[in-house]
Structure formats: structure tokens, C-alpha cells
């Protein structure tokens, strides 16, 4: 075997401390047939040319480059090997600059140390094997889970980029939580005016790509990996054909069954077959099976018979279906919900009719809500006083430890809307902390501070606050020696992950943090990527956030996906990864338990573990964990590492 050793002087950086001639003199003591050449500034254009020419002429079997840190130029020199027709994994770098020349006082000692390190590299490189990057075709289509701001933005942008998108949504409608709002902080923009064009585009927009919207659906199974996922999606029956229904509402008018309206958080009732709200998109009603008279053995078919478009629009017998879609990447945008404020008993949530959480109050403010946008008590009276309690369950070890960051802003939005709807009402904000970040939020805050009828009171422990009715039934908010009446109490609970996040994280194999939000690959540099390759995160499924941030996150997830998942592009798989030797694997599963990337699966039929090279990051933890020594860490094999030590210690 012929090993070429290339020594970079790096001007005086290396040459001042390490003697090239001493390396040349030491080379005959190295194993194998070696030659040593020096190139000044081997990373420079000229240096690389010299290096490549020499490689072509000498045709070495292995190459050692003694120069700077491989963190700087390993890729550069690998490229040179490739250009010279030599497999790029047949090279080993020795860091004689940063880790020897620059840090060793005595040139003799530095030279000795460099010779040892080069000997180590020679020992190692002769065991290195040529490795090939495997290639894999990919599917450029994308699955977006959740049709709130982040998911809608992502789906639209994918369609604009010409991609086929499957957009699945758990509820019967588009828009997520904000579709319930009338006005938005910080600018008091009209929410429907902002969302409806987006939703219209999603349903009927003219884009190079396509959007397949599947409402009332959820992911039930995911197999495959980045570039080649197979998703099974369960669609619950709407009992109304989205393709045929024109949204005239004749079926709703005749429905005799009444149930709670969950869209308004059960603050009013709806028909068993009904629209979620007036103006909902897609513009079609849906039937709640449990509320329908037929669920109790009845044979009502009033809705079906009332449909002016015929008998095949309402399908009372419709059952759930499962559809399969092939996709290359997934954007998770499942959003968030509110912490259950009834868990803080003293606040009366769920017990006292005039205590509302913020989402219920958003519906009261909405012209499509239960009161048509009129603020009134459960008894129908105009409130003279309103209490807004911030930080409900937030920054609290007994509930959720974090600040949700958006509640103060909507609380001051409420302040603005209440003062404009009820001229004389007094408003008291009970807050633990105040958070109004950014360049716009202070406007609403200032409005509240300057308003004569509004005041702020700080509390330190939510348990010091109680909401109780007095003898006349009027609510009194008590806070450590202070008592003030409030005809309506609005609670601003912590924002927590949406229902089902736990189940979805298992299906996707994506990790969650201690608060239950999906965990980012890196909180700052890769905050829209999950821990699993090809699964991206957008919106409040990651952490509490406002609409602006959710939309941006939606775009970020698109950016990540489009950058990686190009139609016709082949995925190149880094060959520095792990591989299981079937004949030695004992089937103990230990490797699976230490892999952070779920890259190892178990083949039950053959009782062996399999590493998926696409998902493997090449850390080598499983290689070390395997008690049978059945896993090879390519390019970092036991033999190579031990040989490098041995050469170094000689």
C-alpha cells in the first residue's frame, strides 16, 4: 500500500514550529510505503492544484494531509481527492496547526508531537475504506397537519411553489383558533378580513401546485422516512358532501335536534346539523352524530329531504374512511389551546356563569358569536364592571412554568373593545407580570393605562385571588385585602399544546419538551425543524405565539422543505453512518434505545436491528452500545480509532 503524506507549511504558521525535514526523516519508520511532500498553503488555489497534480501522478492508495483543523478544510481536501479520481474517504487529516504548532512552545517537542500524530494518521488511514454516497429518489409532495395560520400559510406557499399539498384538519373548518376572533392585536385589524382571503385562496386559488384539503381528519399511521413517507389519514364523516353542498342552510332550518355549540366553547346551542358559524369555510354544515336523533334509534331524515340539491348531498350513513398519501415531508401545525382555568378553583371557571376564559370572551365579542358581539352578562344585563385576570396558570410551578407571551396583548385588546362598546364600564386588570413586547403592542397597553375607567392591580400568587358571588349574586373579585365587584370576569389562561399533541408525537416519533410542545432540532438555528428529518414545525405547536409569528413559522417550514426537497433531486446519504451485521446482531434492542433519531428499527422476522441510513446522523453511539459488536460505524470503526491511538503512542 502506498500512502502519500502531504505537509502544509501554512507559511510560517506551521513551518516555524514543525520541521518538514524531520517528518521526511521519520517517514521510513512508518508502516507501508510512504512518500512525503510539502505544499505551501495547500488550501490555496495554487496549493490545491499542486496537491491534485501530485495525487494524479503518484496515485497513492491512501492520503494523509498534515495541515490545519479538519473543521476548516476536510471538505476542501476531500474535493481534491475526488478531482484526482481517488475516493475521498481514503484521506485522514492531521491537525498540526491549531492543535500542535500554535500551542507548543518548543519546536523540537512540537515536531515530535506532529510526527506521532502523523504516524497515528498513517496507522488509521491504511484501515480506511472507500465509501460511496448512496442515492435515493424523493417525493416532493408535502403533508401539512393543521389548518390554522401556520398551516394555511405553509399550504398556500407550497402550492405557490408548485407542490402538491395534502392539508389535513381535525375540525370541519379552516382558520384555527383565530377564525373565532373579531379583531386582532396589536393593530385591531379585522380578523375575518385578514383570514378570509387566505382561506378563499386555499379552497379556490389558482396556483401551480394543488391543495387537497381533508377536514375532520387526523393522521393515524406514518411509515417511511424523509423523502419517502407513507401517511394514513382517517377522515371522520361530515355527512355532507363538500363537493356538492352549496351552503344554503335548508337542512339546518329543519333539523329538530339541539346540542352544545363547541365552536363557541359551549356558550350557546346549535342544531345537530349546522354550520360551525356564519361565514365558515368550507361553507358547508356538518352533522354531529351523537346529537342526531338517529343516534338514539330514531329515523329522522329531515335534513336529507330538505336539501334542494337532491338526495346525494347529505349522507346519513357515511362512515369514517382511511386514505393513504405518499409524501416527502411533513409540516406539523397543530396549534395550541388554553389551560383549563377551572383547575384554579377560586376563580369560578365552569361554576359561575359570568366567568369566561379568553376564547369564550372572543366569541362574545364576535358578530358571529352567541350574543352577536354584544357584551352582556348571563342574565342579559349590560355589565358595569369587568375584571380581566392575567397570568392564569402561567409562571406557576403548580400549573405551567412559562409565560405564554400573548395574553397581555389580547387582554389590552379586550380593554380597548370593552371601552368602545360599553362607555361607562370600569375595567380592572389583575396581573402577575406584564408582557407587551415588540414595536406595536404598547399602543393598546398605553390606551388602557391612560383610560380613566381602567386600572391595573398586581398580584403575586393566583391563589390569593378569588371570585365569589355576593348575596345579590354579583361577582366580587378579592385580592389580599382588596375587593371589587365585577359583572363579568375574563380569565387569560396559559397557552398549552393542542389536544392530541401527545398522540401525534408518538406517530411521528417527534420529541416534545417538558411542557408538551414539539421540540425543535435547535431552539435558535433550526427552530422550524423537529428532531426527525423531514418533519418540520410551525406555529403554536412549538410554543405559544401570536398570528404574525405563526405565519412566519409557517413560511420558515416551507423554506426548510423547499431547500431540501426538490423535485427530481436525489437525496445523497452521508456514508459516515452505522450498519448492523445481521449475523452478529443478537436482537437485544439496546441500539434502538440509545438512538436519538429513531434511525434504528427492529426486523421482527429476522430478529435483527436495521439502521436507516437516511435517518442516521453518524454519531456512533449505537456502535459503542452494541454488546455483540455487531454495528460498524463507517469511517470511525473500532479498528481505525484504536490504530490511530496505537500509532500516536508508538
Amino acid at each position: 500500500m502506498k500512502i502519500g503524506i502531504y505537509f502544509c507549511n501554512c507559511g510560517s504558521n506551521i513551518a516555524d514550529k514543525i520541521s518538514y525535514t524531520a517528518v521526511v526523516e521519520a517517514a521510513p519508520s512508518f508502516p507501508e510505503q510512504t512518500y512525503v511532500k510539502t505544499v505551501n498553503f495547500i488550501c490555496s488555489e495554487e496549493g490545491r492544484q499542486q496537491f491534485e497534480e501530485s495525487l494524479r501522478m503518484e496515485q497513492p492508495d491512501r492520503v494523509v494531509v498534515a495541515a490545519c483543523s479538519p473543521r476548516d478544510h476536510e471538505a476542501t481536501f476531500r474535493g481534491c481527492l475526488t478531482n484526482a479520481g481517488i475516493n475521498s474517504y481514503l484521506m485522514q487529516m492531521v491537525n498540526i496547526r491549531e492543535q500542535i504548532a500554535w500551542v507548543t512552545e518548543d519546536p523540537t517537542v512540537a515536531t515530535e508531537k506532529a510526527i506521532s500524530a502523523i504516524r497515528g494518521a498513517v496507522y488509521r488511514v491504511r484501515l480506511q475504506q472507500p465509501l460511496e454516497r448512496k442515492q435515493l429518489e424523493i417525493c416532493p409532495d408535502v403533508l401539512v397537519i393543521g389548518a390554522g395560520p401556520a398551516g394555511m400559510k405553509a399550504a398556500l406557499s407550497f402550492a405557490e411553489a408548485g407542490r402538491a399539498v395534502v392539508l389535513i384538519e381535525r375540525t370541519p373548518f379552516l382558520g384555527g383558533l383565530p377564525v373565532r376572533f373579531e379583531d386582532l392585536f396589536p393593530s385591531m385589524e379585522c380578523a375575518p378580513c385578514m383570514l378570509e382571503p387566505l382561506m378563499g385562496d386555499l379552497l379556490h386559488g389558482d396556483y401551480p401546485g394543488s391543495i387537497e384539503l381533508i377536514t375532520m381528519s387526523e393522521l393515524v399511521e406514518l411509515t417511511g422516512f424523509y423523502g419517502n413517507f407513507n401517511a394514513k389519514i382517517k377522515q371522520n364523516p361530515r355527512h355532507v358532501s363538500l363537493h356538492k353542498c352549496i351552503g344554503c342552510g335548508e337542512c339546518v332550518a329543519v333539523c329538530p335536534a339541539i346540542t352544545h355549540n363547541e365552536f363557541n366553547f359551549s356558550t350557546n346551542d346549535r342544531k345537530a346539523i349546522d354550520f360551525a358559524f356564519a361565514g365558515v369555510l368550507p361553507n358547508a354544515p356538518f352533522l354531529i352524530e351523537d346529537a342526531c336523533l338517529r343516534s338514539n334509534g330514531g329515523n329522522c331524515r329531515a335534513c336529507k329531504d330538505a336539501c334542494p340539491l337532491g338526495q346525494d348531498v347529505v349522507n346519513l350513513e357515511e362512515a369514517e374512511t382511511v386514505v393513504e398519501r405518499k409524501i416527502g415531508a411533513i409540516v406539523v401545525a397543530t396549534g395550541a389551546r388554553l389551560y383549563d382555568a377551572s383547575r384554579i378553583d377560586g376563580l369560578g371557571m365552569g361554576r359561575l356563569p359570568d366567568v369566561y376564559d379568553s376564547l369564550q370572551f372572543e366569541r362574545m365579542l364576535s358578530s358571529t358569536g352567541p350574543t352577536g358581539g354584544v357584551i352582556k352578562t348571563a342574565a342579559g344585563l349590560v355589565p358595569a364592571s369587568v375584571a380581566i385576570i392575567h397570568c392564569v396558570g402561567s409562571l406557576d410551578e403548580d400549573h405551567v412554568p412559562y409565560c405564554s407571551g400573548i395574553c397581555c396583548q389580547y387582554a389590552f385588546k379586550f380593554n380597548h373593545l370593552i371601552t368602545s362598546k360599553l362607555m361607562n364600564a370600569t375595567i380592572t386588570h389583575y396581573h402577575r407580570e406584564l408582557v407587551v413586547p415588540g414595536k406595536e403592542a404598547f399602543h393598546l397597553f398605553n390606551n388602557a393605562v391612560k383610560d380613566d375607567n381602567s386600572c391595573l392591580k398586581r398580584y403575586s400568587d393566583i391563589n390569593d385571588l378569588t371570585v365569589t358571588p355576593d348575596e345579590k349574586g354579583r361577582l366580587i373579585v378579592r385580592a389580599k385585602g382588596d375587593a371589587a365587584p365585577a359583572d363579568i370576569v375574563i380569565l387569560c389562561p396559559a397557552v398549552i399544546p393542542a389536544e392530541g399533541a401527545d398522540k401525534l408525537s408518538v406517530l411521528l416519533d417527534v420529541a416534545r419538551d417538558s411542557s408538551g410542545f414539539f421540540r425543535e432540532l435547535h431552539g435558535r438555528i433550526d427552530a422550524a425543524q423537529s428532531t426527525i428529518k423531514g418533519v418540520y414545525l410551525a406555529g403554536a405547536c412549538q410554543e405559544p405565539m401570536d398570528i404574525r409569528t405563526a405565519m412566519l413559522e409557517g413560511m420558515a417550514s416551507v423554506g426548510y422543505t423547499l431547500a431540501a426537497l426538490q423535485p427530481g433531486r436525489i437525496i445523497e446519504i452521508e456514508p459516515i453512518n452505522a450498519e448492523v451485521d445481521d449475523t452478529r446482531c443478537a436482537g437485544c434492542h439496546l441500539c434502538i434505545s440509545v438512538c436519538s433519531y429513531r434511525a434504528i428499527s427492529f426486523d421482527i422476522e429476522h430478529n435483527v436491528s436495521n439502521v436507516n441510513a437516511v435517518l442516521c446522523h453518524g454519531c456512533g453511539t449505537c456502535v459503542t452500545a452494541c454488546p455483540a459488536g455487531a454495528i460498524t460505524g463507517h469511517h470511525f470503526t473500532n479498528e481505525q480509532i484504536i490504530a490511530e491511538m496505537e500509532g500516536n503512542l508508538k
Partner: protein, 139 residues
């Protein structure tokens, strides 16, 4: 005269590519020397450090081994450094049974920015192994 010649131990350093190896590069970047005794072996992750590598290092003539990982929470591979810690704890028990002082196999943490800490750890390691003297294996 012979008594004043300092014992120069041979030490193997297993460094992870992402943090501690970068920290060692950083130490080079800020110049200033540190003891030459540690021979650095770069691995992708400290989770790759097999206790057998440590035993093999001792067998092949090393007087000490230092494993430098990313700080907890910073591992490029999420929890490889936790595995390194677990294996190091286990290995320490085994080394004690073999009569090898625990100071000869040390685990510590160096971030990509901690060039000074890297220099300090190397100096400490060399100092403590120098005091112990050459490793006598009685296998």
C-alpha cells in the same frame, strides 16, 4: 540530576467533533501554549467513546485518558454526552478494580468557545497524571 527530570506522561484525548475538538481549535486560535502530552483523537461524538478504547489506550502505553464532551444540553447528537457520562461512571468502577487510579481517566466538558477551559483541563490532567507517574499495568 536524574531526579529533576520531569516525568512526561502520554495521554490520549478523545474529543467530539462539534464542541470539544472545536474548543481545542479555539485554544490554538488564542495562541499561548499548553502541555504537549495529550494526543488528540477526534470522534464525531463523545457517545462513540467505547470503554474498550480507554482500556486499549492504557494497554498501548497511555498513562492517562481524557474524554471531552459537549456540555449537557449542547450535544450535537442530543444525548451522546449523556451516554459518555454513563459509560465513564461504569468504567471508573472497572478501572478501580484493575487498580488504575480514577485520575487517569477523566471526563469533562468543553464547548466550542472554551479555549481557555480546554487549556486549563489539559494542564490539570497532565499535572495529575505526572504526579501519579507511569502507569504500571498488573494484568
Amino acid at each position: 540530576m536524574k531526579d529533576t527530570v520531569r516525568f512526561e506522561p502520554k495521554i490520549i484525548g478523545f474529543l467530539c467533533h462539534w464542541c470539544s475538538y472545536a474548543g481545542a481549535d479555539k485554544a490554538g486560535g488564542i495562541q499561548g501554549s499548553y502541555p504537549h502530552n495529550v494526543k488528540i483523537i477526534r470522534l464525531m461524538c463523545s457517545g462513540r467513546v467505547d470503554p474498550l478504547f480507554v482500556l486499549s489506550a492504557f494497554e498501548k502505553g497511555a498513562d492517562g485518558v481524557i474524554i471531552l464532551a459537549c456540555h449537557h444540553g449542547d450535544c450535537h447528537y442530543k444525548e451522546g454526552n449523556c451516554r459518555a457520562l454513563q459509560r465513564h461512571s461504569m468504567l471508573s468502577l472497572m478501572l478501580a478494580q484493575l487498580g488504575i487510579e480514577k485520575e487517569r481517566c477523566r471526563l469533562d466538558y468543553v464547548s466550542a468557545g472554551e479555549g481557555e477551559k480546554f487549556k486549563r483541563l489539559i494542564s490539570e490532567m497532565v499535572e495529575s497524571v505526572s504526579i501519579l507517574g507511569a502507569l504500571q499495568l498488573n494484568l
